[in-house]
Amino acid sequence: MSERRTDAPAKLQVFRYRPSDGRIQAVIGDLDETLRSTDLVAYASDALSSETFVCHAVANDDEAVADELCFIPQGDHCDILSMRTRGWKRHHGDHRRSLVEILNTLAAAVACGKLRILDAEETRTESGAGDVLQEIAIADSGTLARARDAVQHALELSGIDADTCQRTTLCVSEALTNILLHGGGHGAMTVRRLPGRVRIVVADEGPGLNFLNWIEPPAIGGQASMGYGFKIILDNLDAVALHTCPEGTTLLLDRVVD
């Protein structure tokens, strides 16, 4: 993964609290002892009982403490997004987005049900659901068009209109480009048919999503930025699920069909 120079490193972690077992599970990143488990449980319980999305800005006198914590009730559990910005702020006239904006985009997508953050077991189950329509290895930029064609073909067979089809292939292109630029350079795309939907599974064995790559707009560096690519994905698909860890990243891109 290309390292981007920045004034301050940042980190996104996702945890899950289930009242049924009373524990905090790390879904993305490690559960850090500097985030007090009792605080997380208390805030998560509040969010669940009030059925309300809760955001806490945390003073970071100690740099190890998260700047923002979002608690998102999900019925039987609460998802917790933690963003450490370590004081990184957008300067006047700076086109880069603030990390808090990125967190808010993610948290809002989780809160409205557009984005699900999966753990490893959920990813294995959901990646294997339905019938395989197409499998394509992604190894270089020359495979992007072939992969888009495969998705378009599957969607056309499902009776999807041309505009929806085009928006879906755009999202697939963004996800696959991320593999080439940041996900180790190779991976796989599988198109699957599930009841009522077409699911495109995009997986790599790269080092995991680096959310610092999401800051820059694509035009500045002349290359794609998964930050904007990911926003395109969230804005244009019916449902998205994400699992990322140091061993790889998997995205499930769902298009509802009749």
Partner: protein
């Protein structure tokens, strides 16, 4: 895959045809560099572009800014709905300026 052809002149037009993604970078840069050599301006005609993503957009914006810094303005014409939609999503007009889009 992207293919290009050039109508020469003081402000040559580079006609783009096909798909603009990460794969188009070299093709587009070479075509624009050649067309822009000694030119007063360069026009990119998007009427044949059926697909563009954020990588293709990034390459276009980079070219735009690079040519401008060399004193050669670039204009984009005949944007297809697919291109216009992605440019709007990525706020390309804010990045390169309205003057790039004389249509």
């Amino acid at each position: 895959m992207l293919s290009t052809s050039v109508a020469p002149g003081p402000a040559p037009t580079v006609f783009l045809s096909g798909e603009m993604d990460l794969d188009c970078a070299d093709t587009l840069r070479e075509a624009v560099a050649e067309a822009g050599r000694g030119a007063e301006a360069v026009v990119l005609d998007f009427s044949g572009v059926s697909f563009i993503d954020s990588s293709g957009t990034g390459i276009f914006v980079r070219l735009c800014l690079d040519l401008r810094s060399q004193g050669t303005p670039l204009a984009a014409r005949n944007l297809t709905p697919a291109v216009r939609g992605v440019f709007d999503m990525l706020r390309v007009r804010d990045l390169v300026g309205e003057e790039v889009f004389p249509d």
